[in-house]
Symmetry: C2
Subunit: 385 residues, 2 copies
Amino acid sequence: MQQSFERLATDSHSNARRGRLTTAHGEIDTPTFMPVGTQGSVKGVSPRELHELNAQIVLGNTYHLFVRPGLDVLKHFGGLHNFMNWDGPLLTDSGGYQIFSLAKLRKITEQGVEFQNHIDGARAFISPEIAMEIQTLLGSDIAMALDECVPYPCEYDYAAESAEMTTRWAKRCREWKRRNAEMARPELADSMLFGIVQGGTFEDLRKESAQAIVDLDFAGYAIGGVSVGEPEEEMMRAVEWAEPFLPANKPRYAMGLGTPPQLLELIARGMDMFDCVLPTRLARNGTAFTAAGTINLKNAEFILDKNPIEENCACEACREFTRGYIRHLIKAEEILGLRLITLHNLHFYLNLMNQARAEIEKGTFDRFRKAFAAEYKTRDLLRVE
Amino acid sequence: MQQSFERLATDSHSNARRGRLTTAHGEIDTPTFMPVGTQGSVKGVSPRELHELNAQIVLGNTYHLFVRPGLDVLKHFGGLHNFMNWDGPLLTDSGGYQIFSLAKLRKITEQGVEFQNHIDGARAFISPEIAMEIQTLLGSDIAMALDECVPYPCEYDYAAESAEMTTRWAKRCREWKRRNAEMARPELADSMLFGIVQGGTFEDLRKESAQAIVDLDFAGYAIGGVSVGEPEEEMMRAVEWAEPFLPANKPRYAMGLGTPPQLLELIARGMDMFDCVLPTRLARNGTAFTAAGTINLKNAEFILDKNPIEENCACEACREFTRGYIRHLIKAEEILGLRLITLHNLHFYLNLMNQARAEIEKGTFDRFRKAFAAEYKTRDLLRVE
């Protein structure tokens, strides 16, 4: 199976692209949203439901899976596809982001990262080469190079040194893959490796990082360090600075983003792939996405509401249940409540991508994006968690 | 729609019967198992999944629904079928059992029960007539007369007085229904009312209660007070004492029972309907039912197990997932894990009823029951919770 990325249409008003990424486990229409399967499961959702939602790719978190159930188990089951019974494409992160955000006693050196995991405190070490070994064992269709994701805010000097180290790590990942492919490891033939642009909130660093990573020639490019608490303008600028350096014929992935209007803005800035825990995480708090913005179904205003979460929504929750019933389930801590909101929220995100693709094809994406932003009332999502 | 109960086959070695109960919302093949939808949802399971499991009737708990979301809400939504989007038959309990087991500051008088609910401590009062009003509002296909369920152990005198009061309450429920049916309340035409036999662990009281309740002429008969911590022999005896008094052409419901071998024993003793929280409650602890007995998927022995929970099981969990993966989900506290075990456990119970019906029809139920009991290793289920 040959991996490839085709651009099927481009927008004349923005950098938006409608494309198709081909992997060993199937095709992915871009722009695409990847539900997050942190621990080998998209929270509350079965693989059958993911197919019914028309999810085309799932993200797995290498760090979480490395800690639990551990690599011996995943190897025994023949990788993550088999383990979780998901037969579509899988992207795995490198583990770096979670080591920096969850693990304890991290020690970063040129060689790699030493840490204690957050579950049982066991010590472990991940290098670029080990990150590649793990993702190969998981059977990723799209593996990510190990990077350091710097916090926000971050001193210029630290961000500069870190971005340079991320480039050196990316090179080692690239080398590892080349070396192992030469050794004819068959599992590598079917996988793609993406490099990650870093550089914090600094224009020159973002540009230098983008150029250096692109020089290494990856199958796709991600923009990292953009979902770390920075203001939205900083996030958009980081993408705008890097984007011109990224080859048009390769997929671009904006990591860990974002709200629905942000996704449309990022698509307009030439991004193709997204992952975000908001649809699943907010569902557990009773928060649902609608075209008018988020609503919290715990609110008393929904007690007698016979409407679905969103009029004309085609998801199972909206086809079959009222806001009033779902509110009751959430208040009574019934699992079905968060299942239904999760299904709705994932449908909302996936359908937004579906609409964006259609609008790019029709040449009307710009109008769509502006109309969406005008109707969508952004609330401070961090406050409702 | 005329409600009816037909006996389609009887067993020559026992009192087992294979029948069909017709309600306004569909037919129920008996012996039948009713998944418990305590708060308007069978825990973790959607109505669509209940249909896929071939569940033919769901039990709703009047007390829980009375407390939350409350009768105003349920009335506004047009009853429990509409509220939870379940279009099959519904049986509701009277609320009595949960008032006695969950509510606080109960005061029982001839008139009814005064109590404070366990959620917000609000005071409420339920009488036989109010229990009927509530179940009518819920839209039950099968309503239960209000009874007092005495604890185990219980003094003879208290059990005797209580059983007599339960009979007087049953009569008031019967009268309420007759009076309201004469007032041509259309929602009553489609519902059945079952009386409940009480009498604790005392032979004469059980027999007197059975005779008195049957004299009141209900559409079906339940045996209550049999899942209150008494030894299994006491439970079986309570059923055996009452059963000869129950008319053969009416359905019989053994309330709140039981383990899989117990259900087969109760079927052999002429019982037709069962409800039990074990399949859903134990699933939340990682415990799955198999023909060889229960297994706890948290155990380390399942870490590398590529088998389904049970070989040749047709449920979604067994068709698509391994014990090792489900174990991982339970250990990682992923909701999908308890969803899958819940689906399996409900399938196990429903399929056991399916098998029992087929064996009764073939005249081989007795052999089936003995073979099942020989293979099924009973563990102390209370210990694994």
